[in-house]
């Protein structure tokens, strides 16, 4: 697919830096999010994912 993109970008000065910046940006955002997500304790995850299943009459606030 790259052939559709390539010739256009060749005209921009210092274009090499663009993909590097984008890659870094994405990498950072995603990795930060991933690390954070993986770090949430299992207990919390279970608690939150069970929120919809709490019976309407039976409201414990899990605090």
């Amino acid at each position: 697919m790259i052939r559709f993109v390539k010739h256009y970008f060749e005209g921009i000065a210092n274009v090499e830096i663009y993909p590097i910046i984008s890659l870094l940006l994405f990498f950072l955002v995603f990795v930060t999010m991933l690390i954070h997500v993986l770090k949430i304790p299992k207990k919390n995850i279970e608690e939150i994912s069970n929120l919809p299943l709490e019976g309407d009459e039976n409201n414990n606030n899990y605090e």
Binding site: M33, H36, D56, N59, N61
Partner: protein, 716 residues
Amino acid sequence: MEKEQFYYDNKIVKMFLIATVVWGIVGMTVGLMVAFLFNFPNYMEGIPWLSFGRLRPLHTNAVIFAFVGNGFFVGMYYSMQRLLKARMFSDLLSRIHFWGWQLIIVAAAITLPLGLTSSKEYAELEWPIDIAITLIWVVMGINMIGTLIKRRQRHIYVAIWFYISTFVTIAVLHIFNNLELPVSAFKSYSVYAGVQDAMVQWWYGHNAVAFFLTTPILGLMYYFVPKAANRPVYSYRLSIIHFWSLIFIYIWAGPHHLLYTALPEWAQNLGTVFSVMLIFPSWGGMINGLLTLRGAWDKVREDPILKFFVVAITGYGMSTFEGPMLSFKNLNAIGHYTDWIVAHVHIGTLAWNGFIISGMLYWLASKIWKTKLYSTKLANTHFWIGTLGILFYAIPLYVAGFTQASMWKQFNPDGTLVYGNFLETVTQVLPMYAMRSFGGTLYLTGFILLAYNIYKTAKAGSKVEDELVEAAPLKQITARRIAGEGWHSWLERRTVLFTIFATLAILVGGAVEIVPLIVVPSNIPKITSVKPYTPLELEGRDIYIREGCNNCHSQMIRPFRSEVERYGEYSKAGEFIYDRPFLWGSRRTGPDVHRIGGKYNDNWHFNHMFDPRLTSPGSIMPRYPWLLTDDLDVSTTEAKMKGLVSLGTPYTQSEIDKALFLLRNQAEGIEKNLRQDPEFVKNYGDANMQDKEIVALIAYLQRLGTDIKKGETAQN
């Protein structure tokens, strides 16, 4: 901790539920009416407000904003209260939201058939209704955020994040795409012109799919699939990743609707890259939804609600695979303008949206009316009829799409087109259109069964509208508790901040795409021979918009050998700088008309509008006899020109002062041309055709795409 007693508001859920069912039937029926027009173009003969170009926007608006919109509100009002353990912030706001939204739908159902339209797809409604939508949307937002603030549950479940992102993004999209200058009570011109207008429109159009037909439905999925399956979502971690990556990437993908058009290439490429990336979050979400049913597959066999959900999520997976594929330029070159796109869209709407909402409605009916569903068997029947309906709808249109694309592109060895007459490529697929209508009929029949089933359930059920519950209020958070918590949990607790972050995530993509196009003039090269429309052509263009011609005819010739051979020189960005709004279209049921100017004489257009089958036997275009009898309204011509001047169209003061004189002059010229045909003189000799709408439309059509030809002659 002391528990508080409070009531859930079930009445608002019930109201939206009924509205969803009613509008669902209306929207799908209009869709069916439109589908029948392909095979029986004459069956609504001569009724202006029932012609294809006016009904098609009514269908799309009705199913998107009335059916799916109300469906989302049903689930949102039900699940938010329960997930947050709080009644909605304000009953008054809930009611204003409900009645306001229904009034907007009614206004749409009246204005669109009247031809009051801005022509931008899924944003056709004119400016007064746009303002009403903004106000009601804000009312909904205040109600949502207010409920979040008074919640009794610390954590905000993922479904609600999707609701919040829906609220903020639709607000941003709606406002920016509908920036327009009113010139009369129901007519306005877009503040953007040509390429910029196209870019903003498809940034909107694509993200309307993303944030009106996807994120709210994902929210519903994350709540109602676990509810119906009675087990938590497969991976809550995955849902967090799903959410942030989806909203961040989706917003960039709009330009894939404009590949190979006159849009600057950097913008097209950006659209392609992000569209391809979109498959990851989309499939992450799909897998998360499907795997929620792990260990419950035996239930799927018996429970119609779970069946609906399984097909819905599968449909989501199919259309989010197809979307990125269609964003590759080589596949887009085949699919764009064909029925492939229509099939693709309907997998998303019929399967994904329609079936999540149907499953949810069945589930809610028994909860809201506190009784068993009237008939599980009937719900099962609905499921099977509906699924068959989807197949009968989509498969013929896939076939039709590929047939069209290959017929459009085939060359003879001598370099001429094999199917030089566009009409051949239309009549070839008519049987497919008939099958599509059959599929649509099945789907609607299924949905009517749902309406009956829910009506019977409601009749047998309880009338109680408020549900008593109790829950403890939120405790003050102690410093000890916060210690060591992740930033996401911290963020989740801060509703307003969370909303701002989500807004920022979507604004970045929008800004990077749109700002350069608007501020960097070199992105749209000027062509000196391109001039503004004359007063008569301007009025003709507004008739073209009123009749919704852009629903079937594109005005964008892509730079392919097959298109240049068929239609003429490919379209340049600089040719559209006076087009407010742009009219590139997205589907070629009929041929492209960008270079129609000068191709036929005025009499051809006259006869063609009176009855397309006179000039093109076998055509499925509707007749427009009223254009020949209705007087052209010139009362706002000057106001329109003044409005356009303030937006940047270079009309001179004397042109505006002489507008009506210029208009009459040109109209007389066209009547003179028409009178060269003895048939015309015999039939319409005393009709004063120069005062009729048809003359303006002919003037516009004859102007289309001719400016650059003038440039060539001047240079020679």
